[in-house]
């Protein structure tokens, strides 16, 4: 059997029945349509996902004195800061809730959102050295961000409940536990969708317009002031310009809903339609664009 081949062509006379016996595991073609998410591929790399989550959670607080305690200290300090500045100094009326609880109930989901958005938006840049050398599903790093942030979020939520017990305020008990959980879950899903969708969208666009990397920090900050993190929505005058802006923010019902279910105030399910639709659109758009740039990403960077 000789192996001498013609120059530049496939060997003459070789018939490719080989593929019949056992199908190819991987077929690389110039382009695959954007809606093909390859969930199977992501599942195959689930160990990488869990390793990256582990890395995010452990490496962040290495060589700090407080270590993982920072996870609890951060939202607590922010909430105390807000409580002092807006609650005590600006004497903002908080519908009778203890300022610390009022702010914590919004700061915890808000920081979840902002971390996921900013980190996802930078995912292609921060992982560029990796992505130009090894193949893995490019959605893995954003998903790992989501995972590690979700873990942090749950820990911080637990801290909230400790404080809630202390203040004897519990929305879950007031609303009925089942309803509370359903509300928190649906609000969480919508919030995640918004964060991931917006993050992916920005990540994809950042490869083309680096400006966005700078804009995103301001945008997230602005979004916070446009959402009822530091004030209750009810305090914004109905029909005012500020009210319109705040209500246009899809995060507003999410934050309100979350705080409502934790603190036990009235909550209208119908308000969730708007952020749910926005989140779905962002996810589809974000995934499509992300998929588009990930193909040529290694060549551009």
């Amino acid at each position: 059997m000789t192996e001498t081949h013609d120059i530049g062509t496939t060997p003459a006379g070789t018939v490719w029945e080989g593929a019949v016996g056992r199908t190819w595991d991987v077929v690389i073609r110039p382009a695959s349509p954007w809606w093909r998410l390859d969930l199977k591929e992501i599942w195959r790399y689930r160990d990488l996902l869990s390793m990256l989550i582990y890395r995010d959670l452990t490496a962040l607080y290495k060589q700090t004195i407080l270590g993982p305690v920072w996870v609890l200290v951060q939202p607590l300090l922010t909430s105390i800061m807000f409580a002092v500045i807006f609650g005590l100094m600006a004497r903002m009326s908080l519908a009778g809730y203890p300022p610390l609880l009022f702010y914590m109930a919004a700061v915890v989901p808000w920081s979840f959102f902002s971390v996921v958005v900013t980190k996802t938006a930078a995912t292609l840049t921060t992982n560029a050295p990796l992505m130009t050398k090894v193949y893995f599903p490019r959605l893995i790093p954003p998903l790992s961000t989501l995972g590690s942030s979700a873990f942090t979020f749950l820990v911080q939520l637990a801290l909230f409940f400790v404080f809630a017990l202390f203040y004897r305020v519990s929305g879950f008990l007031c609303l009925g536990t089942r309803l509370g959980i359903a509300l928190v879950a649906s609000v969480g899903v919508i919030g995640n969708g918004l964060a991931l969708g917006a993050g992916l969208l920005v990540a994809a666009l950042t490869t083309k317009y680096r400006d966005l990397a700078f804009v995103i920090g301001f945008a997230v900050q602005l979004l916070m002031y446009m959402s009822p993190v530091i004030f209750p929505l009810a305090k914004v005058q109905e029909g005012s310009k500020l009210r319109i802006v705040v209500e246009a923010n899809p995060l507003t019902p999410v934050i309100e809903g979350f705080r409502g279910s934790l603190l036990g105030s009235e909550m209208h399910w119908s308000t969730l339609w708007y952020p749910a639709i926005v989140s779905a659109v962002l996810i589809v758009l974000g995934l499509a664009l992300f998929k588009r740039v990930e193909r040529s990403f290694a060549d551009v960077v």
Partner: protein, 419 residues
Amino acid sequence: MSAPNDIVMRAEGVGKRYRLGVTDRRQFIDEFKAFTYKLRGKADPTRSLDAMGSQRIGEDFWALRDVSFEVRHGEVLGIIGRNGAGKSTLLKLLSRITQPTEGVISMRGKVSSLLEVGTGFHPELSGRDNIYLNGAILGMRKTEVDAKLNDIISFSGIEHHIDTPVKRYSSGMRVRLGFAVAAHLEPEVLIVDEVLSVGDADFQRKSMGKMKDSANSGRTVLFVSHNMTAMRSLCSRVIWLENGRVRMQGPTEEVVAAYLGNNSSSATEKTWGEEDAPGSEVGRLRHVRVAPASGGELFLWEDAIDVEITFEKLVDEPVYLVIWVYNSDNMEIVNTNIRESLSEADTLISGTHVAVCQFPSHLFNSGDLILSIGMAHNGRMSFKLDNVVSFTVVEPPRTGTWHGRRQGMLQLQLPWKVR
């Protein structure tokens, strides 16, 4: 014919195009303009004209074109070619880092590449954690890493520091750890790119052994290297890429010989006419040729090397021809001038002369060598012409287990005695 089922990788008409010059970082307003014009069915005004009109090749650059080959199970396939021939692009396509512009690549089983060892190490995590992380990045399951952890640690040779954060490692230790993980991947197709150049000699031997084991245990290996010695002893078949196309593929010896022959004949001779002869008022060069004294095609290590210079001497005073030898890193290895063996009287008369300088056999280490030639007059350099001719010294096939490139600029054959 062997059973076709053993084909583990197949590339059909694979091509990869890069855009040259187009930075793809237009301002947003351009993007918007392009979009609105497109809506109205007009030509994009922000595009340069020749890109749409005439097919100007300068805009597009095909790093790979029409590349087709197949790899059989258990084969060790070598890929050679000069820098820029498309080797790295091909590897990037095969390891799925980037996607082809045209063609289809089909693969069976797990394909892992060692494009860079230690990819994704996190400095804050311990060596042990990084084994898991790196393994996962390279596509290993956690249970796989669990099973091989002890082997990996002992292969890396850094057992004592395995729980130390990687940021405290020396770069050598990092490479060892990275390679140790990569060596335990056990994919069906392993892609290796010049990895042999990392680490010290002892570690190279280990890695080489591991690669041979892989090949012997029926694993398929794609091996890219400039090291023809390793190529010859490891690969059964070689693909030679040139300018993004497959120039030749076939049995290793045939392709490697053709490649070396082609490469070394490229710039061994230079001739100048009456008009363009380089030089100065004391003399000019007309013809330079470098060739093995044996008259063969290749500059083998055991050959003496003749440098033949035809020059015009324009003055009736002593003029000294000088030859400098540089390696590919532009390091000067040696220089020699005509007065070393000829008397002043021999170089006195003007006119056209032919000088031959012979470098002895067993002198230069394998690699590319570049000659500069100049003339000195009255104790100062009158001119020096760089990069006149070049040639590649080839080392004969080596026996033994070590195939790394020998360091050093010279490779002498010195008399040894044992008492």
